[in-house]
Symmetry: C2
Subunit: 398 residues, 2 copies
C-alpha cells in the first residue's frame, strides 16, 4: 500500500489502515456529516439532532433508559461519569481487574473517595464469577460492581449475565465498560440488568474519537438523586447533563456539535446495516483473521470461547521486538496495529477489526503484511499460508 497523503487544511495526515485497538477508520458519510454548519447548543435544529442521537444510542445499547447521552469527552470520560456520579466517600465498590481498563475503573473509583475491593483476574481470561460472588459477600453493602465487557488490553469478552445476577442479589449497581464491545458484539443493557454502561465513539461505532455514549438506568439515576455529597466533577455531573439532554434544556456546557453530527451519522450507518448483520460481519472477519494467524504458527492469547471478535491479541513469538514490528507495519505497509498495555507491554500484538475494517480486505491486507515483515524479524513463516487459511474462511469453507 502506498501512503496516500490527503492534503486538506494543510494538515496532510497520512491515510492509514487503522487495525489497532482504536481509533478505527471512519466512513466518508461520517466525515461529511462534520461539514454541517455549527449550530448553537440551544438551537431548535440542534436539539432535534440531540433527540435523534439519544434515540439511536438507545437502540445500540438496547435500552429504554431516558438518561442516554453522549458525554463530551473520550471513553475515559464515560468511565469517570459513571464512577463519579454513582460513588461517593464511604461507598464500597467491587471491581473486576482482569486487564488494564478494569484497573482504570478501580483507580477512578478510589478517586471518588470510595473503598475499592478488587477481584483480580488473569489477563487473557474472563473474571471468575465465584471470585466476584465471594468478594461481594465480604461486605455489608456494596454500592457498585464494575466490570469491563470487552477488555481492550487483552481481547477478552466478559460474559455479563451471571455477574448482573450477583449484583442484583447484593443490591449493587452494575457498571459495565462497553468501550470496545458496543457495536461489535451483542449488547442488551436492559435485559442484562446493566445500571450504567458507557462506550466510546472511535471503536466499533467507527466515528472520530472524542465522545462517550452512555446510558444510566432509572435505578442508577435514583442513586444519583440520593447522593449525600455533590458529584466531585461538575463537568461530568449527570444531574446537570440530564437537565440539558432532557426537556428542560438547561445550559451546562457548549455541546461539541460537530462530533455529535458525526456520531449521529455513524450510528445511522450501523442501523442501516442492521446491528445483527454488523455483529455477524465482525465475527466472520475475526474467524478469518484467527485462522490466518494460526496458520502462520502464531499463538492467540485468549481462548476462542471468550475471544473478542473486534480485538485479537497475538502472543509475540520469542525474540520478536514488538516496537520494531509495529514500526515496520506502519512505515512499510501504512498499517497501524497496537502493542501490549500495562503488564503486557512488549509481549502482545493487538489487532483491531472494527467498524468498516471488519472486512475481508483488512484481514487479507494485514496477514500479507505480517507475512512480509515477520521473516525479516527472524520469525520464519510459510508465505501465503496465512492469507490462504483466511481466504478459505472468508469463502465460507473454513
Amino acid at each position: 500500500m502506498t501512503s496516500a497523503h490527503v492534503a486538506t487544511g494543510a494538515t496532510a495526515a497520512p491515510a492509514r489502515l487503522l487495525l489497532g485497538p482504536g481509533p478505527t477508520n471512519v466512513h466518508p458519510r461520517v466525515m461529511q456529516a462534520m461539514l454541517n454548519p455549527i449550530l448553537g447548543y440551544l438551537d431548535p435544529d440542534f436539539l432535534k439532532v440531540m433527540d435523534d442521537l439519544a434515540s439511536l444510542m438507545r437502540q445500540l445499547f438496547n435500552t429504554q433508559n431516558p438518561v442516554t447521552i453522549a458525554v463530551p469527552g473520550t471513553g475515559t470520560a464515560g468511565m469517570e461519569t459513571g464512577l463519579a456520579n454513582l460513588l461517593e466517600p464511604g461507598d464500597v465498590a467491587v471491581v473486576g481487574t482482569h486487564g488494564y481498563f478494569g484497573e482504570r475503573i478501580a483507580e477512578i473509583a478510589s478517586r471518588q473517595g470510595a473503598t475499592v475491593a478488587l477481584v483480580p483476574g488473569e489477563w487473557g481470561r474472563p473474571l471468575d464469577p465465584d471470585a466476584v460472588k465471594a468478594e461481594l459477600s465480604k461486605h455489608r453493602k456494596v454500592k457498585l460492581l464494575g466490570v469491563v465487557h470487552g477488555e481492550t488490553s487483552t481481547g477478552v469478552l466478559q460474559p455479563l449475565e451471571e455477574l448482573s445476577r450477583l449484583a442484583r442479589q447484593h443490591d449493587s449497581l452494575f457498571l459495565v465498560d462497553a468501550v470496545t464491545s458496543l457495536g461489535g458484539v451483542p449488547m442488551e443493557a436492559d435485559r442484562w440488568g446493566i445500571d450504567f454502561c458507557y462506550s466510546a465513539s472511535q471503536k466499533c461505532l467507527a466515528c472520530p474519537p472524542g465522545l462517550a455514549p452512555m446510558t444510566a438506568s432509572p435505578r442508577a439515576m435514583e442513586a444519583v438523586g440520593a447522593r449525600k455529597e455533590k458529584c466531585r466533577s461538575f463537568y461530568l455531573d449527570l444531574s446537570l447533563h440530564r437537565t440539558y439532554w432532557g426537556t428542560q434544556r438547561r445550559y451546562h456546557h457548549t455541546a461539541p456539535v460537530t462530533m455529535l453530527y458525526a456520531l449521529r451519522e455513524g450510528l445511522r450507518l450501523i442501523l442501516e446495516e442492521g446491528i445483527e448483520a454488523r455483529i455477524a460481519r465482525h465475527r466472520h472477519a475475526a474467524h478469518a483473521l484467527w485462522a490466518g494467524l494460526e496458520a502462520l504458527g502464531l499463538k492467540l492469547l485468549v481462548d476462542e470461547s471468550c475471544r473478542l471478535p473486534q480485538l485479537t491479541t497475538v502472543v509475540l513469538p520469542e525474540g520478536i521486538d514488538e516496537l520494531d514490528l509495529r514500526q515496520r507495519m506502519l512505515r512499510e505497509y501504512n498499517i497501524e496495529v497496537g502493542g501490549g498495555l500495562g503488564k503486557m507491554a512488549g509481549k502482545l500484538l493487538r489487532i483491531g477489526l472494527m467498524g468498516q475494517n471488519a472486512s475481508a480486505e483488512a484481514v487479507l491486507t494485514l496477514l500479507s503484511s505480517l507475512e512480509g515483515v515477520l521473516p525479516r524479524l527472524g520469525y520464519e513463516v510459510a508465505v501465503g499460508e496465512g492469507v490462504s487459511a483466511a481466504s478459505r474462511v472468508l469463502a465460507g469453507a473454513g
Copy 2:
C-alpha cells in the same frame, strides 16, 4: 437572509449567522481540516500535529510554559482541569464572582474540597481590586485566586495586572478564565503572571466546540507535583496529560484527533492574520456595533472602559420579551443571538462578534435585523439609524 440548508451526511443543519456568546461560525479551512484521515493517538504523524498545536497555543497565550495542551472537553473541562489539579481538601481559594462563570469557578472549586471565599462583584462591572485584596488578607494562606478575564455572562473585560500582583503578594496561584477573551483581546499569560489559563475552541478561536486550550506555569506544575492527594479527576489529571503531551508519550486517553486538526487550522488562521490585527478587527467591529445599538436608543450594560469587544450585552428595553426577540431573529433572519444567563435571564441580549464574525457584514446584518424586529415587539426605532451610525464607524468616520 435565507436559511440555506446544507445537506451533508443527511443531517442538513441550517447555516446560521452565529452572533451569540459562542459557538461562532467556522472558517472553511477549519472545516476542511476535519476531513484529514483519523490517526492513532501515538502515530508519529499525529504526535507532530500535537507538537505543532502546542506551539501555536503558546503563541496565542503568550507563554513559554512547557505544559500547554488542549484538554479533550469543552471550556468547562478546562476550568475543571485547573481547579481539580491546583486545589485539594484543606486549601483556600478566593474567587471573584462578578458573573455566571465566576460563580461556576467557585462551584467547581468547592467540589474539590477547598474552602471557597467569594469576592462578589456587580454583574456588569469589573471586580474591585481592593475587595480582592481585603479577602486575600483575611486568610493565613490562599492557595489560589481565580477570576474571569472576559465574563461571557455580562460582557465585562477584567483587567488582570493588579490582581496578578495581589496573588503574588499572597503567594497564591493565579487562575484566569480566558474562554471568551482569548483571541479577541490581548492575552499575556507570562507577563501578567498567570499560573493557569484556559480557553475554549468555539469563541474567538472560531473552531468547533469541544476543546479547551490551556497553559500551566512551572509554579502551577510544582503545586500539582506537591499534592498530598491525587487529583479527584483521572480524566483531567494534569500529571497524566503532561506525560502524554510531553516527550514520554504515555497513553492516557484516545486523543480527539479530528478536533485537534481543526484547532490547529484555526490557530494557524489567527497567526496568518496576525494576533494584533485580529484584535484590532474585533475592536473595530465592536465600536461599529456599539455606535449602531446606541443610535437605536439601546442601552449597553457595560461601561465602555471595560467592555469586551467580542461580546456586547444590551439591556433589553422595558416590555420586550427576550425569548420572543431571539426566536424572531432566528426564524426570520437566521441569526443566533444570546439571552441573559443566571440572574440576567430575560434582561439581556448578548451579541457576539467572534472570529470571522468580527466583520462589517455581521454588524450591519445584525443591526438591520434588529431594526426589522424591534418595532414589531413594540419598541419603535428610526429604521436605518443603527446601520448608518455603524457604517460611519466602519468607514473610519465614527
